[in-house]
Symmetry: C2
Subunit: 231 residues, 2 copies
């Protein structure tokens, strides 16, 4: 018997393709997404593409100004700061709620921090960054709210968007591994106050680094029409 939830809808498929391209960094922030061009590129009608764009706007990956069209979202430094404000809110609460976390959930947490270590050992910094986000995601999941989980996922996606390419550099990822491990062990020991402090410092420094990278990389690249590469 097939899964109960499978009715693929074209507009969501199209949204998925666009989402991938954006998160993969193929579409620089600020790039305009012209309706006719992308409808053609994704092989859907303009109406369907517009519905896909609306979904991506809701996810915060693209912006939309009436009569100006959609553009890949370019985060201002204020918005980058907000990302860390949100992360702090969610993760601190997650730490508090870890008091009532199940055995399995805590095991999963350890699992994920080990994945971070493995990736770091292999010098795979891209993977290390992804794994680290998964670790923090697990902390948030202790709250037990799917909607907050989703918010974290969205915020994490935008964070990646902020330093799209430059994030696979070693100095961008290496310093955090040990701190993830430390936070994890504190949580396992039930030292939630210590974990909270460590987490707050962690996020403060991370914000500083990302803001710096964003500033040097320059925020508003003009970026012209951006023809979608043929598949």
């Amino acid at each position: 018997m097939p899964e109960p939830d499978r009715p693929l809808v074209l507009s969501q498929t199209a949204a998925g393709l666009l989402r991938d391209k954006i998160l993969r960094g193929e579409l620089a922030p600020g790039t305009p997404l012209r309706e006719v061009i992308w409808a053609e590129a994704l092989n859907v009608s303009r109406n369907t593409l517009r519905e896909a764009l609306r979904d991506l706007v809701a996810e915060g990956l693209i912006e939309h100004r009436p009569h100006h069209g959609a553009t890949v979202r370019a985060l201002t430094s204020a918005e980058i700061s907000e990302i860390y404000t949100i992360r702090l809110t969610l993760e601190l609460r997650g730490v508090t709620c870890s008091a009532y976390a199940s055995k399995e959930a805590m095991a999963e947490l350890v699992e994920r921090v080990e994945a971070v270590q493995r990736a770091a050992l292999a010098r795979d910094w891209k993977q290390s960054g992804t794994a680290s986000l998964e670790f923090h995601r697990q902390i948030v999941s202790f709250i037990g709210s799917p909607r907050l989980d989703e918010l974290f996922a969205s915020v994490a996606a935008q964070a990646r968007l902020a330093f799209s390419l430059a994030s696979d550099a070693r100095r961008f990822q290496e310093p955090w591994v040990a701190r993830d491990v430390e936070i994890c062990s504190m949580l396992c020991d039930g030292d939630r106050a210590g974990a909270s402090r460590a987490l707050e410092l962690y996020l403060q420094e991370s914000e500083r680094v990302v803001l710096e990278a964003a500033r040097s990389h320059g925020l508003p690249r003009p970026s012209r029409s951006a023809a979608p590469a043929a598949d």
Copy 2:
């Protein structure tokens, strides 16, 4: 000179009309929103209505299952509980951040709790409920994140949706007034630990009451086609 941001877009106007009807309780949870019917009722094309529906889905006011269409969102008790989980997360963090709130922001807080008292004195329980939510909204705003403000607004809208009509009863609103006042004065005194405790109890009890109301009122009313009243 007119405002710089005014380009009203029809799909958003339509979404606004629908949103009002839903929050006003004119459309019971579970009511299906048939595309042709409502396109006609709101005087827009079906395509435009679909874009409006997509916005309301993103806001969490309606659900949408592929090939089944949109329905006014009917919250399960699990989802109602989640609303309070989210409120707790946001409001507790707001209390913490109140340490760095500006003089004006604190004055605004007092302003709003006074509005709650005024409405209660006037026995306007509907207004009292609205004002109370505005008070708690102000607490969340101490965090300083527009996106979290928006999340709270969305969650509050859904909470209202949960006990649409029955909420203007006296016993539904009266007990909370004094507690809002207490929390406010604690915050003004800088007693954030006390405010946190009070807030947690407040939300726990509120959740209990709303869950009870939802259970008695019955969750999934069938509710047939629901012809939109002529304007």
